[in-house]
């Protein structure tokens, strides 16, 4: 009897788990950084030249780095190893697994065991800076990152780790194959041009040429924040417009950027490949669709490269960004430039960490910025676009390269809106409702206004 039950249980288990294992590989995240089967093509790092001066007194110190950018976890560990070889300082890289970065760092602080350094979003740094962080205003690298620093009451508390940009990713080959002619992305400068191009693609057989994610972070943060960021294309401008919306001096209903943003959003909605069920769209499938040529555009940022690469795109392929077109004015910067700004920040704990640990952490940050090895690893191993002018290396994937070139040619605007932490979640839901066609402009704008009215 007992044996029978056991046999039954094991058989039942096997039956239930077998399909789970078979499907396991298909619903995982496309860019799973922990996947040991994933082959990472890596550019070799030249370690022969190293003029960086290491402080031998710091050798043997242990510091920790909390990493909230999952796709560079392995790369950061390699950087840590390399740094330890040279300096003797051990850097333990801790991933943020299931929590939000902020929740994780706060719980570590509350348990009295915070990481020496944490990679966080700008909003999180601002929330924590004065209470927990060490003042970094006097560090040399602040001069190299001019224009990309985040200041809290005139002081710098964080190192900008990378520049990230977003817009309409295009697959040039697909467009050229469909139209049978050369495609010049710079020739598209207005919403009208863009719509005309989409129509031509539809005529050429690409029925629905656009992919857009249904995820709330994409809709609520990456789409919607254009409303604030295109005010005048600066972070200060974005703060100004948010202030005006909050105190009621700006009426969102009559704010021209709000309507223009929705004009563009409506166009994307109309040509959306998942138009029949926009909230059922699958993120991993979008990368595959773009790489395979089922679609020609995908609204996303340069962080989407690992997904595209997994879907079969090569470093030599022609991908790039079009701006998020707001209107039909050729001279409007929003139609000419793509958005690119520092996104992740490294904050240094100033509360619990000992002076020696802080010094070691500062050395690590300097090493990233100034040493030949650190500079190379930032770009080649981590695949980041560093905001530091002294870094001579160029990123190799087409998306980062496009952002890099546009930043250096002045064809990108550096604006990132600082919004409350739940902005993406609350307004992402409102945007989802609009995307699904279950609310109209009026209702959407009212819910945005209500959200801001509730903020203190």
């Amino acid at each position: 009897m007992r044996k029978n039950v056991l046999r039954g249980i094991s058989l039942g288990l096997a039956l239930v788990l077998a399909p789970a294992m078979l499907t396991g590989c298909r619903f995982g995240f496309a860019s799973d950084p922990d996947d040991p089967n994933e082959e990472v093509k890596e550019e070799p790092i030249d370690t022969s030249v190293d003029t960086f001066e290491y402080d031998s007194a710091l050798s043997g110190t242990n510091i920790t780095l909390l990493n909230s950018k999952a796709e560079i976890q392995v790369a950061l560990e390699k950087m840590g190893e390399e740094f330890e070889k040279k300096s003797g300082v051990h850097v333990e890289v801790m991933p943020v697994t299931d929590d939000s970065p902020y929740t994780k760092v706060v719980s570590l602080y509350n348990s009295g065991n915070p990481p020496t350094m944490s990679i966080l979003d700008t909003t999180d740094v601002i929330a924590l800076a004065e209470e927990k962080a060490a003042d970094l205003s006097e560090e040399d690298w602040t001069e190299e990152a001019e224009g990309y620093l985040t200041e809290v009451n005139g002081k710098v508390y964080s190192l900008p780790l990378c520049i990230e940009g977003r817009g309409m990713i295009y697959n040039k080959t697909v467009i050229e194959d469909a139209l049978g002619e050369e495609f010049d992305p710079d020739s598209i400068t207005t919403l009208e041009n863009f719509t005309a191009l989409l129509d031509r693609l539809v005529d050429a057989g690409i029925e629905k040429p656009v992919s857009m994610a249904k995820e709330d972070w994409s809709l609520g943060a990456h789409h919607l924040q254009f409303v604030y960021e295109t005010y005048d294309g600066t972070s200060e401008g974005a703060q100004e417009v948010i202030k005006q919306i909050k105190d009621g001096t700006m009426d969102l209903h009559s704010y021209d950027r709000m309507q223009e943003f929705l004009d563009m959003f409506d166009v994307l909605k109309e040509y959306n490949v998942a138009k029949g069920d926009p909230l059922g769209a699958d993120y991993d499938e979008m990368a595959i669709d773009l790489a395979d040529g089922k679609t020609a555009f995908w609204f996303n940022g340069n962080w989407a490269w690992p997904n595209l690469s997994e879907a079969g795109a090569e470093n030599e392929d022609a991908y790039g960004f079009l701006p998020y077109f707001m209107n039909n004015d050729e001279d409007d910067f929003a139609n000419r430039q793509i958005q690119g700004s520092p996104s992740k920040q490294v904050m240094l704990d100033g509360q619990i960490a000992s002076e020696k640990e802080q010094a070691a952490a500062k050395e690590f940050l300097n090493w990233i910025v100034y040493s030949e090895i650190g500079q190379q690893m930032m770009v080649k191993t981590c695949n980041l676009i560093p905001p530091f002018q002294n870094n001579p290396y160029e990123p190799s994937d087409p998306l980062s390269r496009d952002i890099y070139e546009k930043v250096h040619e002045g064809r990108a605007f550096n604006a990132s809106a600082i919004v409350p932490n739940d902005h993406w979640a609350v307004l992402g839901a409102a945007m989802q409702k609009y995307l699904a066609g279950r609310s109209d402009r009026e209702e959407l704008i009212t819910s945005i206004q209500e959200y801001w009215d509730e903020q203190e």
Binding site: L13, L15, V16, F27, L128, D277, G280
Partner: protein
């Protein structure tokens, strides 16, 4: 003799357990109640006492009441379906049918899979498998993902929870049925009771202790649902399937209003405690000895 040892026995047997209970249940609970009366944001070193202001915040948080209402709806569906199904299946599985041990194990296994994993598996089923079936057969019910329509997403949540919870309840009911005394059953038959009459007058009263446990377990688990909610729908589409526990978490950690979130958690606790208390009291009254 007995009284002499009492102190020592208490120290040896009760203190370790008591210590653990106080450390991980009582202290955090009291601390949590204290937090509802502060304006703590989770980070700052100072916690200002604000009295009952956070409870005012709860009143104003319309979304909390909406999600609480949704949770009630969910609990009713889950508790009723799970218990009716589990009772029925357990009844069938104790009648000596062929392969019943295999079926018992089979029904129980979903319960062994963690809620998060289960949610992801079903998410795949609803948004890919069903849609593919819909595309190839033309069945309109499966044409678009269930998870992108508010009422279908809710139905999906209920379905998955029932699938997960029933196995456990089946096990308890099976144990209950196996414990029924043969003598009593035989006596009932001899007295001429059969079918429905036997079920209502003999089996049901004797099964009440199992019902008490099962109702209590399903009630509390359904009220506190979080893992399946998070991995299956994450509140999608547009926040319409966000249950109370998930809303509390979002309020505290995403919106960074610890005080209000904690106050909402406390209200949720009181509601669940009251309802399960009343349920246990009522069903216990119906229990009989054979």
């Amino acid at each position: 003799m007995k009284s002499k040892n009492n102190g020592k026995d208490f120290c040896i047997f009760a203190l370790p357990g008591l210590f653990c209970f106080i450390a991980v249940v009582v202290i955090p609970f009291v601390y949590g109640v204290y937090l509802t009366m502060t304006d703590w944001n989770g980070v700052s070193a100072v916690k200002n006492f604000v009295g009952l202001k956070n409870f005012g915040g709860v009143m104003k948080d319309a979304q909390f009441w909406i999600s609480l209402l949704l949770t009630f709806k969910y609990v009713i569906f889950v508790v009723v379906i799970v218990n009716v199904m589990a009772f029925g299946i357990a009844y069938l599985l104790t009648r000596g049918m062929k392969g019943q041990n295999f079926f018992r194990a089979g029904f129980f296994t979903p319960n062994l899979i963690g809620g998060i994993v289960l949610g992801y598996i079903w998410q795949f089923v609803f948004s890919r498998v069903f849609v593919n079936i819909g595309e190839s057969t033309g069945w309109t019910a499966f044409e678009v993902s269930w998870l992108s329509d508010p009422s279908k997403a809710f139905a999906a949540l209920v379905l998955v929870s029932v699938w997960q919870l029933s196995g456990y309840m089946i096990l308890i009911y099976v144990a209950g049925f196996m414990g029924l005394s043969e003598d009593v059953m035989e006596a009932a038959s001899i007295d001429g009771a059969s079918g429905w009459r036997k079920m209502r007058s003999i089996v049901m009263p004797l099964m009440m202790s199992s019902v008490t446990i099962c109702l209590f377990l399903t009630l509390s688990r359904a009220f506190m649902v979080y893992d399946v909610n998070l991995s299956l729908t994450a509140g999608a589409p547009y926040g319409t399937t966000e249950m109370a526990a998930m809303h509390v978490y979002e309020k505290a950690f995403t919106s960074r209003q610890f005080g209000v979130g904690q106050a909402e958690a406390l209200i949720l606790f009181i509601i669940v405690a009251c309802i399960s208390g009343i349920q246990v009291y009522l069903t216990k009254k119906k229990e009989v000895e054979a």
